[in-house]
C-alpha cells in the first residue's frame, strides 16, 4: 500500500520535472515549423541583413536588420545602466551595508524585480519620456535612449541579486588572507574579491542582458517603434520583441508576414539561447574555481 503511494508520488514528480522539457521542445518545434516557410520565398541573407522592414507593402519587405539593430542598441544602452547600478548595489550590500540597512535594501531590490513590466513601461511613457524630452530638448521622448534607461532599471535587480550571491560565495579565507598581507579594504575588494567573484558577476551581467533583450512591453511603449537603423541614441527604434507583439495580432495566419514574425522570434530565441549557454558555462567555471564543483 505504502509502496504504491510512494511510487505514485515518484511518477508525479518525474512528470512534473519533464514538463519543462516537453514545453521547451514544443516551443522550439513550433518556432521552426512556423518560421521556415518564410525562407521558401525570402532568402535568409535578405531577411537577416535587409534594411527595410515593411511587411504590409506590395511587394512586402522583410529585412530585419533595423529590428536587430534596435534590440542590440537598447540592450547595450541598458547594460550601461544596469551594470554600474546592479554591481554597485551588490558590492554595497555585500561589503559595506550593516545588517539593518541590508534588511531594508535587499527586499527593496527584490520588490523592484517583481514590478510588472507594463508598470515600468507606463512609468517610462508618462513620466520619463516627457521629462527627457523637456530636459534634453528632444523632438520626442520615445526613443532608444529612454528605452535603454527603463530597461536598465528593470534589469538592475537581476544583476544585483545574482552578483550579490556571487560575492557571497567568495570564501572568508580569501579576504582574511588579503588583510593578513596588509592590503586595505579597497585593495582587497578590487584585487581579491571582485576577481574571485568575476565569473559570477559576468553571469549576472549576461542574465541582465537576456532580460533586457527579451523584454517586450516596455520597449513597445517607450522605444518609439520606428523600424530604422538608429544613427543616434535619441532615434526611435523598433526592437524585435515589440515588432512581434505589435504585429502578430493583425498578421493573417499562415501568410508571409506571419511566418516572418515567427522567424524573428526564432532569431530572438537563438540570441537568448546563446546568452544563457554563455552564462551557464561561465558560472560553471566559477564554481570550479572556488571549489564548489559538484
Amino acid at each position: 500500500m505504502r509502496c504504491r503511494k510512494e511510487k505514485l508520488i515518484r511518477y508525479g514528480f518525474t512528470a512534473a520535472a519533464f514538463t519543462a522539457l516537453v514545453f521547451l521542445v514544443g516551443i522550439v518545434a513550433v518556432l521552426f515549423t512556423e518560421a521556415l516557410p518564410l525562407f521558401r520565398k525570402v532568402r535568409v541573407a535578405d531577411f537577416l541583413f535587409g534594411r527595410v522592414w515593411y511587411p504590409t507593402g506590395e511587394p512586402a519587405d522583410f529585412g530585419i536588420l533595423p529590428l536587430i539593430a534596435g534590440s542590440f542598441w537598447v540592450t547595450l544602452g541598458a547594460l550601461l545602466v544596469c551594470v554600474p547600478l546592479g554591481v554597485g548595489s551588490a558590492l554595497y550590500l555585500n561589503e559595506l551595508a550593516g545588517p539593518k540597512q541590508k534588511a531594508v535594501l535587499k527586499p527593496a531590490v527584490e520588490i523592484l524585480a517583481g514590478v510588472p513590466s507594463i508598470v515600468y513601461g507606463f512609468f517610462g511613457m508618462v513620466v520619463i519620456a516627457p521629462l527627457l524630452q523637456d530636459l534634453l530638448g528632444l523632438p520626442i521622448g520615445l526613443c532608444a535612449f529612454t528605452a535603454s534607461l527603463i530597461l536598465g532599471l528593470m534589469a538592475t535587480p537581476t544583476v544585483a541579486s545574482v552578483a550579490e550571491d556571487a560575492l557571497g560565495f567568495v570564501p572568508r579565507s580569501f579576504r582574511e588572507a588579503s588583510f593578513a598581507l596588509g592590503a586595505d579594504r579597497w585593495r582587497t575588494l578590487t584585487k581579491v574579491v571582485i576577481p574571485a567573484a568575476g565569473s559570477g558577476i559576468s553571469t549576472a551581467i549576461i542574465l541582465g542582458m537576456s532580460r533586457a533583450i527579451g523584454e517586450t512591453m516596455t520597449v513597445l511603449m517607450v522605444a518609439g517603434g520606428a523600424a530604422i537603423i538608429p544613427a543616434s541614441a535619441f532615434d526611435p527604434v523598433r526592437p524585435m520583441t515589440s515588432a512581434i507583439a505589435a504585429e502578430m495580432g493583425e498578421a493573417p495566419v499562415g501568410g508571409e508576414h506571419y511566418h516572418a514574425l515567427f522567424a524573428i522570434a526564432l532569431v530572438l530565441f537563438l540570441v537568448t539561447f546563446v546568452f544563457n549557454i554563455a552564462a551557464e558555462l561561465i558560472s560553471r567555471r566559477f564554481r570550479l574555481k572556488l571549489g564548489h564543483a559538484r
Binding site: 527595410v52 522592414w53 515593411y54 511587411p55 504590409t56 507593402g57 533595423p66 519620456a129 516627457p130 524630452q133 523632438p139 520626442i140 521622448g141 520615445l142 513597445l220 518609439g224 517603434g225 520606428a226 523600424a227 530604422i228 532615434d235 526611435p236 523598433r238 505589435a246 504585429e247 502578430m248 495580432g249 493583425e250 498578421a251 493573417p252 495566419v253 508576414h257
Partner: protein
C-alpha cells in the same frame, strides 16, 4: 479600427467555415476596415434574433467581393466601390452586386495645440508622411523638426490613410509607431513637433485638427465627402437582400447599428 485574430480564433473560424452551410447562416467577408462594424453588428444582431448565425472574416475588400461573386459569402464588406472589372466578372456568373453604404470613414490630421498652422494641403501631408518634408519651416511653420506619428502597418487606419492621403506610397521609416488611435492622439498631445492621424472620434481639446485642402474635418464635411481624407464604407449583397441578410443589413443601417459604427470610430450616416 483594429482587429485581433489569433491562431485559436482562426482555427475555430476555419472549423466553422468547413461545416456545411446551414439555412440562416450568413458569411461576411472582406475589408478589415469594415470588419469592426461587421463584428459588433453581428454580435448584436445574433443576440436579438437567436436563430441567425453570422460568420465574419477579414481578407480585404477585393477578397470579399471575389467571394461574393463566387457565391462563397453572402455579404462582402468593402472600403471602396466595386470596380468595373469586378462587375464584369459578376455579370458572367449572373450575379448582381448591390451596394449598401453602412458608414463613412474619415481621418483627421492632428498636431500639437501650440502649432500655429491652420491647415495643410493633401500634397504637403503626403510629403511629410513619406519623408520628403522633415521641418515645419518648409510648410510655413517654425524651424522645428517634424515628428511623424503613424500606426502599426497592419491596422485598418494605417491602410486607409495610405490609400486616401499617401497614394499608397510608403510611410517614412523613422515615423513613431503607435498601436491605437488613442496612442497617436496622446503622443501628439505631448509632442510640440508632432503630426499624426486619427479617426474623427478621437479629436479632443488636447490636439489640434488641421484643415486639409482648406476643409475642416467634421461630421458634415465627411458625410458630404468634401473632406479629402474620407471615404464611404459598403456592404455588398447579391441582388436585393432577402431573409436574414436583409434583416442584418437593415439592422446595420438602423439607429442602433449606426451607433455601433460610431462607437468603433466611424461616422454614422444618421
Amino acid at each position: 479600427m483594429k482587429i485581433k485574430m489569433n491562431g485559436i480564433t482562426a482555427a475555430l473560424l476555419a472549423a466553422v467555415l468547413a461545416a456545411p452551410a446551414s439555412a440562416g447562416k450568413i458569411v461576411m467577408e472582406g475589408s478589415t476596415t469594415v470588419l469592426p462594424i461587421a463584428q459588433k453588428a453581428a454580435e448584436a444582431y445574433m443576440k436579438r434574433s437567436p436563430g441567425a448565425e453570422i460568420v465574419v472574416r477579414g481578407g480585404g475588400s477585393g477578397v470579399g467581393l471575389a467571394s461574393l461573386i463566387d457565391g462563397t459569402c453572402g455579404i462582402a464588406n468593402a472600403s471602396r466601390a466595386i470596380k468595373s472589372s469586378e462587375l464584369d466578372k459578376a455579370a458572367k456568373k449572373k450575379r448582381a452586386p448591390k451596394a449598401h453604404m453602412v458608414a463613412m470613414d474619415g481621418l483627421s490630421v492632428i498636431v500639437h495645440p501650440s502649432n500655429g498652422l491652420k491647415g495643410l494641403s493633401l500634397a504637403q501631408i503626403r510629403d511629410i508622411f513619406t519623408g520628403r518634408i522633415s521641418n515645419w519651416s518648409k510648410v510655413g511653420g517654425p524651424d522645428m523638426k517634424i515628428v511623424a506619428v503613424s500606426r502599426d502597418s497592419a491596422s485598418g487606419t494605417f491602410e486607409a490613410f495610405g490609400e486616401l492621403a499617401l497614394e499608397k506610397k510608403r510611410v517614412r521609416p523613422d515615423a513613431i509607431v503607435q498601436a491605437s488611435n488613442q496612442g497617436v492622439a496622446s503622443v501628439v498631445a505631448r509632442t510640440p513637433g508632432a503630426i499624426g492621424y486619427v479617426g474623427l472620434g478621437y479629436l479632443s481639446e488636447s490636439v489640434k485638427a488641421l484643415e486639409v485642402n482648406g476643409i475642416m474635418p467634421s461630421r458634415q464635411t465627411v458625410l458630404s465627402n468634401k473632406y479629402p481624407i474620407s471615404r464611404p464604407l459598403f456592404m455588398y449583397t447579391d441582388g436585393v437582400p432577402q431573409g436574414d441578410i436583409k434583416g442584418f443589413i437593415d439592422f446595420v443601417k438602423s439607429a442602433e447599428g449606426q451607433k455601433l459604427a460610431e462607437e468603433e470610430g466611424f461616422v454614422g450616416l444618421r
